[in-house]
């Protein structure tokens, strides 16, 4: 099992409430995944800044003096730090972060921030003050581990490309062969986790020129196993289920938002849900929305 929630806002007036709504949805999915939880939030896409989210098991020592060392803004929150810099500085800042072995990069891009840790979803959300986050769209995951250990790096979302992230309910059966294939293409996969391979696969497809919808279509042929995926990009939000479609999924759409929940009860507190179009996404069918 695992729980997935997602919210893609069409109405800007809801943006200040994104974190609050996503947290409520995430906590409702606790019994689908009490091991660990994570959330990706997209905000500030047009402010000219690149954000790199890093994590450390020893934030006091590892984050101390980090801003001076890198010469950029650093906002620390619990085990995570958001490093912001001008877009043209980003490659050199990233190279220096990659040389710091204690820091793990969670995500990087113009809009994305990822927060994930081991623990109950309500505790993870409160450690990172997720309810206060505003943004345009976000994806959350509650994990019940199957394919790799219960660790921070094994938690979802996985981000393998700028402003991209993926969460997964299910298990992939061809992730080892696909990991080797991606490695031969020069794609780096950090963990033993099956979901990271799917994320890396989609990033690779998009790097080769596919848009999110095309990358997901290709995934139907190349990814084997059980999956319900929810994917985020800088301005997009996608959903894909495998052809057998055992893993649950509910979508809801109104004039104000598109919402995803592993179960309908994750959506019941959203504004106007009573009048929303609510449906179960079809198997092997790509759904995606762009701003």
């Amino acid at each position: 099992m695992c729980g997935i929630v997602g919210l893609f806002l069409k109405d800007k007036s809801l943006e200040p409430d994104l974190g609050h709504m996503l947290t409520d949805m995430l906590v409702t999915m606790s019994d689908r995944g009490p091991d660990s939880a994570g959330i990706a939030v997209y905000r500030g896409a047009d402010d000219g800044q690149t954000k790199i989210t890093v994590q450390s098991p020893n934030p006091e020592s590892d984050f101390e003096g980090l801003a001076q060392k890198l010469g950029v803004d650093v906002t620390c929150i619990d085990t995570h730090a958001i490093i912001s810099c001008d877009q043209d500085q980003a490659p050199s800042v990233r190279a220096r972060i990659d040389d710091m072995p204690n820091l793990r990069v969670m995500s990087s891009g113009d809009a994305i921030e990822i927060y994930k840790e081991v623990g109950l979803p309500k505790d993870v959300a409160s450690r990172f003050d997720i309810p206060k986050l505003q943004g345009t769209h976000g994806i959350g995951h509650t994990r019940m581990a199957t394919e790799s250990a219960v660790t921070t790096l094994g938690a979802h979302p996985f981000s393998t490309g700028a402003d991209q992230c993926l969460v997964h309910n299910g298990s992939l059966s061809n992730h080892n062969s696909l990991r080797r294939k991606l490695t031969r293409q020069g794609v780096r996969v950090e963990t033993e986790n099956d979901t990271e391979v799917a994320a890396a696969y989609l990033s690779w497809k998009m790097q080769e020129g596919a848009n999110l919808g095309e990358a997901l279509e290709a995934g139907i042929d190349d990814l084997d196993g059980f999956y319900t995926f929810v994917v985020g990009t800088k301005d997009g939000f996608g959903v894909l289920r495998d052809p057998i479609a055992c893993k649950p999924a509910v979508l809801a759409e109104t004039d104000q938002y598109v919402a995803f929940g592993s179960e309908y009860r994750a959506l019941v507190n959203l504004p106007g849900i009573e009048a929303a179009r609510v449906w179960e996404p079809e198997p092997a069918t790509v759904y995606f929305w762009e701003q």
């Binding site: 479609a245 649950p248 179960e263 994750a266 959506l267 019941v268 609510v278 449906w279 179960e280 198997p283």
Partner: protein, 226 residues
């Protein structure tokens, strides 16, 4: 009608109230604020009526005996799973494996049902006003599945003796499922089920599907496949 609110009462307390009704009871209950909760109105064993005002999660009206359960909304996976008797009516859509393994009673879904509708059904009658998803009636043993709309891939795969009636298109038939002749007794059964389900359709508009019975016995020509 006794009203039970899931915002103020625990699910277990509500189910215990419903389950406490005995054979002679004909009481009516109203459940409000289901909010997608699982296992609402399960294990009932009395001819009571339960009206659920909203959408539910997994296993609504599971293991039902005698009771009539009406859901004024949609239901999650496994509605009326293993129902023995009684009637369950869903005004909206149903998620996967609706009516799975059920032995008796009538399940009416006024919207669409998704994948694996009637999987391993063992005597239940299911009437779906809309469409059904893939792998429906997989290994279905007895009972009737009536679909006014279309059916997805692999309908009736590895079917035993259940009857399947579809008015719309069938995307594909599963292994050992074939179209069969519609005889007078089938038209009579269909008419009765359509009437009971409040469905406006003519029995003559349907096609019947059933088992070719080629998987029932070991066939030496298939030895290479084992």
């Amino acid at each position: 009608m006794e009203s039970l609110d899931l915002k103020t009462l625990e699910l277990r307390a509500i189910n215990a109230t419903l389950q406490a009704e005995g054979d002679g009871s004909n009481k009516s209950f109203k459940i409000t604020n289901p909010l997608g909760s699982h296992a609402i109105a399960v294990g009932l064993d009395a001819p009571i009526e339960v009206n659920v005002h909203g959408s539910t999660g997994y296993y609504c009206a599971g293991m039902n005996k005698q009771a009539t359960v009406n859901v004024l909304g949609s239901v999650g996976p496994g509605v009326a799973e293993n129902m023995m008797s009684g009637k369950v009516v869903i005004e909206g859509d149903a998620s996967q494996y609706a009516g799975a393994t059920a032995h008796g009673g009538l399940l009416v879904i006024k919207g669409n049902a998704s994948s694996r509708c009637g999987i391993s059904m063992q005597g239940i009658d299911i009437v779906v006003h809309g469409n059904i998803g893939h792998m429906s009636a997989f290994m279905a043993q007895a009972g009737n599945l009536v679909v006014l709309g279309d059916a997805g891939d692999a309908l009736g795969d590895s079917l035993y003796e259940a009857h399947i009636f579809v008015r719309g298109d069938v995307k594909s038939l599963g292994a050992d499922c074939v179209e069969k002749e519609m005889r007078m007794e089938h038209l009579d059964t269909l008419k009765r089920l359509l009437d009971e389900a409040g469905a406006e359709a003519e029995p003559s508009e349907f096609r019947r599907y059933g088992s070719a019975r080629t998987l029932y016995n070991f066939d030496i020509d298939n030895a290479g496949a084992y």
